[in-house]
Point group: C2
Chain length 339, copies 2
């Protein structure tokens, strides 16, 4: 069954496709009477414009691609939900691209998005050097790019990030106030932007507050629950161990809490745990988890808004870099250190 097009409408009304197009697009130069008839006929026939044809002429598709590592990560699903809200209001569609941490997938997806002529791309890039030229090409070719969560050096484009370094710094500072002097950490993917920034802030604070932090107390959990769980087990089964431990994303936090539970360590009496990101479970588990939270809602909204500005704005602006703050949610997994 054939879709009805403006030609059908024109034929039915004995007018031309040019007039129909003008009328339907709200351009002037069509008599009110004819315009009304055209609208009625379009509705009657159930006309829906063909976005492909329109896109070819206007090179505008009202579609934006979103590159993330994993949609099952609540951090991403929250951010995306928030992006979707602002983009939907302007009739844009989102193409979700689950990239894992795989540069190959990132590359293939970017090419797929280019071939579909998306108006823009919002991406949390893997950070692999290899794909940097790809992103640069996008920018050069007029496909608007907004980075979030992670940034890539010297890429001239808008970005929305959280001050990750300050976040872990503040976490350590908070633990310091509770008298902790021996601290451990399970960090994320070391070569990733968020991973390294958070680790940096941690070490800085450890130094500033003159805390004890042995090498065996700091391990990489790759932002993965299972790996983080194992790291936590290793750290916590040492005879001489830290009185507090920091996890550097939501999966890692989960892994730590699971390990703690298995080892029957009393939190926060025997050990304080500082989480990162927020999640439903952190509010209901025992104890509830004190954590550094990223403003997912604002991140998504800001990224989407920046993209819209870039896509719909006429003038060329210079790249914006929005840096947001993570905030500390006080719950019950951090306590005073035992004397």
């Amino acid at each position: 069954m054939k879709r009805v097009n403006i030609k059908d409408i024109a034929k039915e009304l004995g007018t031309s496709i040019a007039t129909v197009s003008r009328a339907l697009n709200g351009k002037e130069g069509v008599s009110d009477e004819l315009r009304k008839k055209i609208f009625e006929k379009a509705k009657e026939l159930g006309y829906i414009a063909n976005g492909l044809a329109r896109g070819m002429k206007t090179s505008k598709t009202f579609t934006v691609g979103v590159l993330i590592s994993d949609i099952r990560n609540p951090y991403f699903s929250e951010v995306i939900s928030s992006m979707e809200r602002v983009l939907y209001a302007k009739n844009y569609n989102l193409m979700i691209c689950n990239v894992g941490e795989n540069p190959e997938r990132e590359k293939k997806y970017i090419n797929l998005l280019v071939s579909k002529n998306v108006d823009g791309i919002i991406a949390a890039p893997t950070g692999d050097e290899k794909n940097l030229p790809l992103y640069k090409k996008l920018v050069r070719h007029g496909i608007k790019v907004v980075l979030f969560d992670r940034i890539i050096g010297d890429l001239q484009t808008d970005s929305v990030i959280v001050d990750n370094e300050a976040a872990t710094y503040e976490a350590v500072k908070y633990l310091n106030r509770f008298g902790h002097r021996r601290i451990g950490a399970i960090y994320g993917i070391e070569k990733s932007y968020t991973g390294s920034e958070r680790l940096k802030g941690f070490f800085e604070a450890v130094k500033d507050f003159k805390m004890e932090c042995k090498d065996e107390w700091v391990k990489g959990g790759e932002f993965n629950e299972e790996k983080s769980y194992k790291c936590a087990l290793e750290i916590l089964s040492q005879k001489y161990r830290p009185t507090a431990i920091i996890a550097m994303n939501n999966f890692t936090t989960l892994g730590v809490m699971r390990a703690v539970k298995e080892l029957k360590i009393n939190v926060p009496d025997e050990l304080s745990v500082m989480g990162f990101d927020d999640a439903e479970w952190m509010k209901v588990c025992s104890p509830t988890v004190t954590t550094m939270v990223q403003p997912t809602d604002v991140i998504g909204m800001t990224a989407a808004t920046l993209l819209l500005d870039a896509v719909e704005g006429e003038l060329v602006r210079k790249p914006q870099k929005v840096v947001l703050k993570a905030s500390l949610i006080k719950r019950n997994s951090v306590g005073f250190v035992e004397k």
Copy 2:
């Protein structure tokens, strides 16, 4: 900066666009030598086919729309992740449409997807009667539709669902084995497919096992955490109350657990809680939650595969209806009733 197209390649090589098109698409009728040169030149120029133009000719866009109520619901993000895996392998893109439970959004999104000529739509429909004709029109117009999670009566199309009725029935049966005779429930959206099916199974089992179930013990939490939390508070603060309570989705389960915690009711000693769906937090909270789990992975894979079959298959098949089983995960929130 202009995108490279086959015309550019043809010009550079002094051949025709037809030959370039044939070569690049792997059609025969091009000498090996020329074909090789074309591929090299295409790579050199960074040619990426224009999907819009291609779509106009072939009426194939390698794009599928996915309609869901909320991407932040882990149930949906898991299902989508699984769909994405199978669709990515065949070079398809997913357009995510967060519909809430709003039929207006559902309608607008469907039209948006039609205008973008998606090859198919995988949907968890709101179920609103008003939009039934819309779905029928899709099917008639050759846009393949696969329903999941929820189905709409008499829509002739593929679907993947879980036997919701059997799921809650089994939940009650399990509680019965633990000696529970007084049972309550917080159900979901009553007019929704999943909501009503689960409630039906519950009542059926209650009758079969001759349990006591007062009207005040059964309330609608609309699959919403806050509402479910309030319902749970109401049910559990009654003097004469059930010894077990069933929650009918993940958000509801969370609400119940929060209420239980606030009322300092000991689970499972004073009250057994049976959850629905699975989530990270159910594994770490205290007690861990015994729950009826849907096979999200299989659901997503099956739905995506059915869609691909429909889209890529040549012959017309009759609609497939796949019914999967929910399974019971035994953890610690259900116990024997106090004597």
